[in-house]
Symmetry: C2
Subunit: 135 residues, 2 copies
Amino acid sequence: MRITHEADYAIRLVYALMTDPLPPVPASRLSEQAGLTIRFALKILRKLSQAGIVTAQKGATGGYALAVAPEELTLGHVIECIDGPIRLNHCLADDYICSRVTDKSGCRFHQVFDQLNAKLKQELYRIDFSNFQND
Amino acid sequence: MRITHEADYAIRLVYALMTDPLPPVPASRLSEQAGLTIRFALKILRKLSQAGIVTAQKGATGGYALAVAPEELTLGHVIECIDGPIRLNHCLADDYICSRVTDKSGCRFHQVFDQLNAKLKQELYRIDFSNFQND
DNA sequence: AGGAGGTGGCTATTATGCGCATCACACACG
DNA sequence: CGTGTGTGATGCGCATAATAGCCACCTCCT
């Protein structure tokens, strides 16, 4: 029922990236801002890069930059990029076979969790990073 | 971002308890209904018992019974009883000290997660077991 | 050449799922 | 009234997986 530390760090890294006046920002500066080791930051930034959320520039003057506008980027994007799909219950996974299933829409509990999950997801995808721009 | 298997099982156990026509129900029958081993079921039932959600009766004709009416018991009760407090982010814990804190209400991210968390909790405490009574 | 990120693997810690052994209790039956 | 049997209570322990974080080496750009 919790996002991982990694996802939390990812959010901080995106925030640090967004508020930095001089992109591209090297991982060292980002990790300092976000308060984690550079090694771990690199791992997280790689995931963000693969997901197309940030761009990475190698080389002497390289670093990271946001690939999408803050108002286009939501908490949901970042969290699912790091933690994988948001699922309140494991029974919401695609390949889960419920022993209590009665019809194709699954058991009543499944349906309830499915609805709740959709709501949570919707909320997370509603909160974009422009909300945090002036903090 | 997921409830544990244990909490999921707990929900199934409560459901089995609720739909059983002859309380008190021994753990053996409940575990069979809910599809888990009796040992694990006992551990979960103990937690439910300590939380006052079910009553346990020792002895030859003993077993478990619901201590509260189904319409008074919600998914939130059962989940928090097993998994502990619902927290979308670890920074919502009471003893967490945020490095980014700016005032007593915490950083902007904290505030957002706090609100989301409250919403989720509210939803989970809105869904009581009478919804599942006739399934 | 040197400073940047990319990749994969590695370790330590914690959470999770579940089992085992033993004790405590309540009823039933002799 | 005592003892046996079936029930739950308790605590220990372990196997597996997830998580958090680190390291070494490679690639790429300037």
